[in-house]
Symmetry: C2
Subunit: 356 residues, 2 copies
């Protein structure tokens, strides 16, 4: 039988608890659809710093390298915030992306009907919003040379933003491919009026665009995009951009849906391998209380099924189950209007499993 | 008598027409308060490219250098978008900032009561929003070395982000000073978990903070700030950040107020000299039709009076006049609910002058 191996990195804060519920859903899929999964846990992030002295231990990386996909909870917390760079959870995150070649971060920003009142945007503005941000994840200013030096005016710090044609081309091509499966509209975001990397970016986009005549392409400056996401969110379909801009805009886009506790993401490389994680962070303030919302992580499993394994039937079963549970009125605290009626993490997980 | 010299750069698109109304207001101030102004016009932006072959002609720069303040309309338009770098309006903008040492861009994001329905945010979320973004304007990735080179994987582009201690210190100090005159809360925005320039930034902020024990300081990561502006806009007082982040966040902040046609900005250096301009752009699509909203430019004059000349009486007279005209229900097309009742650019300017 075709056993899929999944590396499970619970991480910090609420990470392990939300991942726990996602694993119940995974198990239920095995029963219902006959798929087979082998899951193996490993240390990552703050907990790995505490137990192994590094946020990305060698054995964790090796596990991921031999797995078909990675399920990640979340990393980070105040405990490690003041550590030196090598001993911070984020360094593990950047390290795993680079080591696994995950050059593309895909973040759907969907408005869940039952949650549209949770957004700070007016419902009529949000109406019909369903966009995906495709963010380049292993290049740009995140990974360029960084250093301090003595300058003419005292100490200075330097970060370098570098992109080569090939790096831009592969992410842009992927974004066009995704646009072809959806609304066939692509917004490429850059700062071509100021940055050389953006001018290279735009040249590549225009060249690749010729191969996708059906896709309606617009170039949007990053500052304008930050505005247009607020003004006309529903007009976007796929947004593609470089690493730093994508970090900012994908968070803005996620927040405006009002559904941030529900949003999943995929980090992909060449081939079908991928790392899946909820968009929300490790929420150290509520960790261990059993009140976190597992839905984003559960939906990350569905995304894994679609993008890495092609198990569309199982993905749909999960997505429908989530929808049914929400339609029946069940809510965790973060999305409950009446907090006194909120259910806990495991109760939500159990309901989803039962609804599959 | 103390005659103040103002360099007037109408620029492109709706720039000249909105500046025209602001000049009427300036004239009225002379009559009402006895202040004296000498205004001199010069070419800047696209029109300077057309007439002089460069977006920032030497005589324009010299005029600004001998002036006490600069009033700018807006620059840019599709006509020049595909020009080479030296022949683009933005290059003039970056050039004038650098040449005049305007290291600080101050953008109030205020919600005008009569316009709060124009925002895409829910009124209850927006309630009480009144923040200022202080953006570093002559450093960072905007002005660092940029070039192309052949790399191991073909052609690559490079941008360099550089900040020295002194550059960070002067803008941060100014932001603390502004916070002291307002709500005494400062949010410093960086990406210290990834960038070396951000780590330097944060060190300087923490050091300067010691001198301002009354100011409540928070460090906010840029991606989180893009979210928090949407979630809790009214909780911000002063936001200070580096050039690129400030470009993005100040536009996001301006848009969420719903009042973008009303917002003015100041670019300041050492001393009292400043360049004042509306936040909105050159709007080439409506240029020459006489329908643009002059209020942001009129309010830029008020800001000039406050920050450069210390003419607080005249500033208040302008601000009150704008408020009264709006309260009386007069609207230009961009802010009118019933577009058929909208008035034109000069009518709006005349009403403001009459109300002073
Ligand atoms: C933790 C941080 C390094 C990371 C990033 O900036 O990429 C995070 O914000 C994200 O978006 O996954
Ligand atoms: C036109 C452009 C170069 C400029 C900038 O990015 O600074 C503009 O967006 C602004 O904010 O004034």
């Amino acid at each position: 039988a075709d056993v899929k191996k999944i590396a499970v990195l619970g991480g910090d804060g609420i990470g392990p608890e939300v991942v726990g519920e996602a694993l119940k859903v995974l198990k239920k899929t095995e029963e219902l659809f006959g798929y087979q999964f082998e899951t193996e846990h490993a240390l990552f992030g703050g907990i790995a710093i505490d137990e192994k002295g590094t946020p990305l231990p060698q054995e964790t990386l090796e596990l991921c390298q031999t797995a078909d996909a990675v399920l990640l909870g979340a990393v980070g917390g105040p405990k490690w915030d003041n550590n030196s760079k090598e001993l911070r959870p984020e360094t593990g995150l950047l390290g795993i992306r680079k080591a696994l070649g995950l050059f593309s971060n895909i973040r759907p920003a969907t408005v869940f009907d039952c949650l549209k009142d949770a957004s700070t945007l007016k419902p009529e503005v949000l109406e019909g919003t369903d966009l995906i941000v495709v963010r380049e994840l292993t290049g740009g200013i995140y990974f360029g040379e960084k250093f301090r030096r003595e300058g003419a005016n005292g100490e200075e710090a330097v970060d370098t933003c570098v992109y080569n044609v090939q790096e831009v081309e592969r992410i842009v091509r992927q974004a066009f491919d995704i646009a072809m499966t959806r609304g066939k509209r692509l917004a490429s975001v850059d700062k071509a009026n100021v940055l050389e990397t953006s001018r290279l970016w735009r040249e590549v986009v225009n060249r690749v665009a010729v191969e996708y005549p059906e896709v309606e392409l617009e170039h949007v400056l990053v500052d304008n995009c930050a505005m247009q996401l607020l003004r006309r969110p529903s007009s976007f379909d796929v947004i593609v951009t470089e690493n730093m801009f994508g970090d900012i805009l994908s968070d803005e886009a996620a927040m405006l849906t009002g559904s941030i506790g529900m949003l999943s993401s995929a980090s992909l490389g060449e081939g079908s391998f991928g790392l899946y994680e909820p968009v929300h962070g490790s929420a150290p303030d509520i960790a261990g209380q059993g009140i976190s919302n597992p839905i984003a992580t559960v939906l990350s499993v569905a995304l894994m099924f679609r993008l890495t394994f092609g198990y569309h039937d199982a993905a749909k079963s999960i997505e429908d189950a989530v929808k049914n549970v929400l339609d029946a009125g069940h809510r965790t605290g973060d999305i409950a209007v009446d907090k006194s009626q909120a259910i806990g993490t495991t109760a939500m997980g159990d309901l989803i499993v039962a609804a599959m």
